[in-house]
């Protein structure tokens, strides 16, 4: 999977590394801003009130 992505990136090794890094940052950004805030209330780690619905 990652090998496939690497092979399909353009440019030499440096350019590919740079693009890979950008992709990783983008994925982390999406996770932190959209996926985790969505998932967090669904998980039982952070209810602090009594009679939480």
């Amino acid at each position: 999977m990652y090998g496939w992505i690497w092979r399909h990136l353009p440019g030499n090794a440096w350019v590919r590394a740079l693009i890979s890094l950008a992709l990783v940052v983008a994925v982390v950004y999406v996770l932190f801003n959209y996926v985790f805030p969505w998932a967090e209330p669904l998980l039982p780690f952070n209810d602090v009130t009594v009679d939480n619905q």
């Binding site: 932190f32 985790f36 952070n46 602090v48 009130t49 009594v50 009679d51």
Partner: protein
């Protein structure tokens, strides 16, 4: 895993499907059949997916325990500044409307020296949205909190996060009986003294919020404060409760001199 790979292989090879399915993938590798590359790929993709899942879970921990604090502290600091600003501004202009009743911006600050060195802004409501800003919220549901500013007898019940999102009540277990809890409004210090602690209770135990919290041992109406958060740390299986009773009310002077409990 192997079964999936073998099945994929079985559909591609024309000979001996049953035999292939039974044989482990590792033994077939030297044979270099047509399907072997596909098995290797399937296995490697599966492995990469597992690694990815592990990394995502790791990131989630980082998010929960660090990033939410960063975001919440920023939001709380901004809102606290706003409240302090409004208080200071009202001193100058004297708009007439007491700040403590402006529940939109937060009604005051909690100081619990044994738990946290910071002052904790208190806002209206205990919804996720409010509490995730790194503030404490006073209950409006299921039992409405009685605000100390109202002067009435009742229970001033407050909730905040134990972990993540500011983790304002993280060290609630450090509070002991006799410790002070001070609630600061624009012109009064409400000094409470802790008299009851319930280290573990059900999350459905709404009675702890009652005007007279019987579980704390009190039977008469009074000016109580209740702190609630989740326990044990990093989970929210149970609730941790701390009760305090109003000891005295001090006027805030021009220098906002702290009451002796906070000095």
């Amino acid at each position: 895993m192997k079964k999936v790979a073998a099945t994929t292989d079985g559909t591609d090879t024309s000979d001996g499907t049953a035999e292939d399915t039974a044989a482990p993938a590792s033994r077939r590798r030297p044979a270099r059949r047509r399907g072997t590359g596909r098995i290797a790929m399937a296995v490697s993709v599966f492995g990469e997916l597992l690694i990815t899942a592990g990394l995502v879970l790791g990131l989630f921990v980082v998010y929960s325990l660090w990033w939410t604090n960063v975001v919440a502290d920023r939001a709380a600091a901004k809102q606290a500044d706003k409240v302090r600003d409004i208080w200071a501004h009202e001193d100058d202009g004297g708009s007439g409307r007491p700040a403590e009743f402006d529940s939109k911006n937060g009604i005051g600050f909690l100081h619990v020296p044994t738990m946290s060195g910071d002052d904790i802004l208190v806002e209206k409501g205990t919804s996720t949205k409010i509490l995730n800003d790194g503030v404490a919220g006073y209950y409006t549901d299921p039992v409405k909190a009685t605000l100390p500013t109202s002067g009435k007898k009742g229970n001033f019940s407050v909730a905040a996060h134990r972990d993540g999102h500011g983790a304002e009540f993280h060290n609630i277990h450090k509070i002991e009986k006799g410790d002070p809890i001070v609630f600061e409004t624009k012109d009064k210090w409400y000094v409470y003294k802790v008299y009851g602690i319930l280290p573990e209770t059900s999350k459905y135990n709404v009675k702890v919020l009652s005007a007279i919290p019987k579980e704390s041992g009190r039977t008469k109406a009074g000016h109580y404060i209740t702190l609630t958060t989740c326990t044990p740390v990093y989970t929210s299986r149970y609730r941790y409760i701390v009760w305090g009773e109003l000891e005295r009310v001090e006027k805030v002077d021009a220098q906002r001199t702290l009451p002796e409990e906070l000095r």
